[in-house]
Symmetry: C2
Subunit: 69 residues, 2 copies
């Protein structure tokens, strides 16, 4: 599932480590989500969206709505 995490993080000037600490997960988890190696759990998706003040749908792209470029 695509997501805008890397962009949102960069807009704030945060490193993956910074973001990981705010989310209370490991840096590797942030990296894995950004690079698309796996999707976050639903509770973590909530924490991410709330941290950025967005709806989950504005951070993560529904598989059924991805454009084929």
């Amino acid at each position: 599932m695509n997501n805008r995490l890397r962009v949102l993080r960069a807009e704030r000037g945060w490193s993956q480590q910074d973001l990981a600490e705010r989310l209370e997960v490991s840096r590797q988890s942030v990296n894995a989500i950004e690079t698309g190696r796996y999707d976050p759990s639903l509770p973590l998706a909530f924490r991410i969206a709330e941290l950025f003040g967005l709806a989950i749908e504005d951070v993560f792209v529904s598989p059924s709505k991805e454009s084929a470029s």
Copy 2:
């Protein structure tokens, strides 16, 4: 994580089996989510929200926003 799945399902007169088929998961998965035994994956949460025409936030209650009754 609390959710409104049972109510939304009942509003439509669907059995757990009906809902499971529409979501393409097992009836046991629907039951487990309704009874709070576990949270769905993020992709499944998207399918659930889209099926009901709602935002994820309108189906699942963020852990940080649950009222203590």
